[in-house]
């Protein structure tokens, strides 16, 4: 009867020791990250994980970095709080990530959001977080530098992803989704064409372009006049070494955000 608690205590102790060692190693190995205040580093902040992470370089062949509703509120300084809003069309697990699509060095990352109430289906959902703990301390990051992805069904990126376009704002949310901006990067130099379909009908095409490895590129679609429903963005092309490139992002377009 006594053994179990003692073992769990020991396990917890060893886990804590392991975590301390891991953090120590991380800080040892990351002098550029370690130069920031430890309070700014990526950590649990109650209802979210937020902070600075080392810059990711490698990854999947094509990665979706951000999927935003085309809506910008200009602000020369950081507001008190940032808000995100998205429409959840079906009952599926939601995974939110806010990040810098083009990080300079150590980069901002927010994920593992715990909403105050469960996300609501067929409704708009919002989440707010204060900028004081991290964002306002980062002199080289501006509100325009942030992107966000709301992945549905699965947390990790994959060839075919289902997402909910998200609006980032600080004062007033958009009243309509008049367009979308989806930002990607490839991990090798590639020739990429982007097309958006509603069913089998092509509604938008971004002409082929040569995209350099690691350099983000944005597909911007003006959705004015398009009916509500499911749309599919297809990226196709090939890498410099002739390997084919394919990526599909499915999202629900809801014109009115009132």
């Amino acid at each position: 009867m006594r053994a179990a608690p003692r073992r769990s205590c020991r396990l917890a102790g060893s886990r804590q020791f392991g975590r301390t060692i891991a953090i120590g190693l991380l800080l040892t190995a990351l002098p550029l990250l370690a130069q920031y205040d430890p309070a700014l580093q990526y950590q649990n902040r109650g209802d979210r994980y937020e902070g600075l992470k080392p810059k990711p370089v490698s990854g999947y062949d094509v990665e979706l970095l951000s999927a935003l509703v085309d809506y910008r509120e200009t602000s020369p300084t950081w507001p008190q709080a940032l808000h995100l809003k998205f429409y959840l069309p079906t009952n599926e697990p939601v995974f939110v990530t806010v990040r810098q699509p083009r990080p300079k060095t150590a980069h901002y990352w927010l994920d593992k959001i715990v909403p105050p109430t469960p996300w609501r289906v067929r409704a708009f959902n919002e989440f707010s977080w204060p900028t004081e703990p991290v964002l306002r301390q980062l002199s080289s990051v501006t509100p325009d530098d942030l992107g966000a992805v709301v992945r549905l069904r699965q947390e990790d990126p994959s060839k075919r992803e289902k997402i909910a376009p998200v609006a980032l704002f600080h004062t007033r949310p958009p009243t309509a989704a008049s367009g979308y901006r989806l930002t990607f990067k490839t991990n090798g130099t590639a020739y990429v064409t982007g097309k958006i379909y509603r069913g089998d009908q092509e509604v938008y095409r971004r002409p082929q372009n040569r995209e350099r490895a690691g350099s983000p590129f944005t597909v911007s679609w003006d959705a004015k006049g398009q009916p509500e429903g499911e749309y599919r963005l297809e990226l196709s092309g090939y890498f410099d070494n002739n390997i084919q490139l394919a990526k599909e992002v499915v999202f629900h377009h809801r014109p009115s955000w009132r």
Binding site: R102, K104, T105, Y191, R206, P207, N209, S215
Partner: protein
């Protein structure tokens, strides 16, 4: 036998064992007591991030690097003077279908537009990106980069952008105004770039422009944002080795050699085995670090990046680093190795410390002997 006699008899044994009892732990401690160590690291890496040290602005690239193509991110404005300006209808693009085949536009796709003087391009949009290339894909060279100076304390990230022709991505934190020297013909791929005061006949955020530059003014001026900019430089064909200054000898305050995969796991950017050697202790064998091991150097002083070169074949940066490190580790999976030298190494491989150790032993033994003689004389 009285207790005092027993104590007197056992005392010589105690004195005999005492040096061993003292020296043995000291020897053991010397093998685990790591010292800040001067290390030299020779490596081939896909990414190198560092903070510039010293007090002067420094240059990393050669004063005029010839390039065949250049991607500019985070610019504020771009200006150039042109005598002829054309823009291609994006709907008429002839896409490539396989590697080696480049996308192009038929002659009918090009429409001449009236240029402003100078032509001013605004990069206000956060997604703005400008690519400069030669209209003739077979051309080896498009132009020359300007001198790029880096502020002390600023961060620099050099990364290899893989592809058929390796390119170097340079992330610069120091704001810049750069003037590029170009040839007569130029193609610009403008992604979310807005030409100021020019009526663009085609819709879309991604447009390809062709410009003919006047002989008297074949330059292009880039003003970066206040937080610097990102340049992806493809060196002119056959001139990749002329990218970095030689000798470089760049003071650095910190250096980072890590990548992270999408799962958040830290990985090594090394592209070949690296060698860590000890210039102050030539007798200590160099350590080989496998390419999948993560290397960390911290608490640096007197640190310099001695040389940098682009290895276009391997798609890697060849770097030599030299400095005193308070932390020098490598990590293979969960296992970390400390590569700093210990007190033991200092005594064994340094003639100076060896001499000090011999002198200390001599001093100890003679003092001991003198003490013994003095004690006998007292009796």
């Amino acid at each position: 036998m009285s207790a005092t006699t027993r104590r007197r008899r056992s005392r010589p044994l105690l004195w005999l064992a005492l040096p061993t009892l003292v020296l043995l732990p000291l020897v053991w401690i010397s093998t685990v007591w790591h010292l800040p160590t001067r290390v030299q690291l020779d490596l081939k890496t896909a990414r190198l991030a560092f903070n510039l040290g010293g007090e002067k602005r420094r240059e990393i690239l050669n004063p005029s690097v010839p390039f065949s193509s250049l991607v500019i991110e985070d610019c504020k404005t771009v200006e150039l003077t042109v005598e002829k300006l054309e823009v291609a209808d994006p709907r008429q693009i002839v896409p490539g279908t396989e590697a080696g085949e480049t996308l192009h536009f038929p002659a009918a796709a090009w429409r001449e537009v009236r240029p402003t003087s100078p032509v001013k391009l605004s990069c206000r949009d956060p997604a703005a990106k400008l690519t400069l290339k030669h209209p003739d894909p077979a051309a080896a060279r498009l132009g020359l980069l300007d001198r790029i100076r880096f502020e002390p304390g600023s961060q620099v990230i050099l990364a290899i952008s893989p592809g058929q022709e390796s390119a170097l991505s340079v992330e610069i934190e120091t704001p810049q105004v750069l003037s590029l020297a170009l040839g007569r013909d130029l193609e610009l791929v403008a992604d979310f770039i807005e030409p100021v005061g020019i009526a663009v006949p085609f819709p879309g955020n991604l447009l390809t422009w062709k410009a003919r530059l006047p002989e008297a003014r074949r330059t292009l001026e880039i003003t970066s944002g206040e937080h610097g900019l990102v340049l992806i430089v493809t060196p002119a064909r056959g001139q990749a080795t002329e990218l970095f200054r030689d000798p470089l000898d760049l003071p650095v305050a910190s250096v980072e050699l890590l990548e992270e995969d999408l799962e958040g796991k830290l990985t090594s950017p090394l592209r070949a085995q690296a060698t860590l050697s000890y210039p102050d202790y030539l007798g200590v064998p160099a350590v080989t670090i496998e390419k999948d091991e993560a290397v960390g150097l911290g608490g640096l002083s007197q640190a310099r990046l001695r040389s940098l070169a682009l290895d276009a074949e391997k798609g890697a940066l060849r770097a030599r680093f030299d400095g005193i490190a308070e932390r020098a580790t490598s990590r293979a999976g969960e296992f970390a190795s400390d590569h700093r030298l210990t007190l033991y190494h200092a005594f064994r491989y340094s003639w100076r410390w060896g001499l000090i150790a011999v002198a200390a032993v001599w001093l100890f033994s003679t003092t001991w002997a003198v003490f013994g003689v003095w004690k006998k004389l007292q009796e």
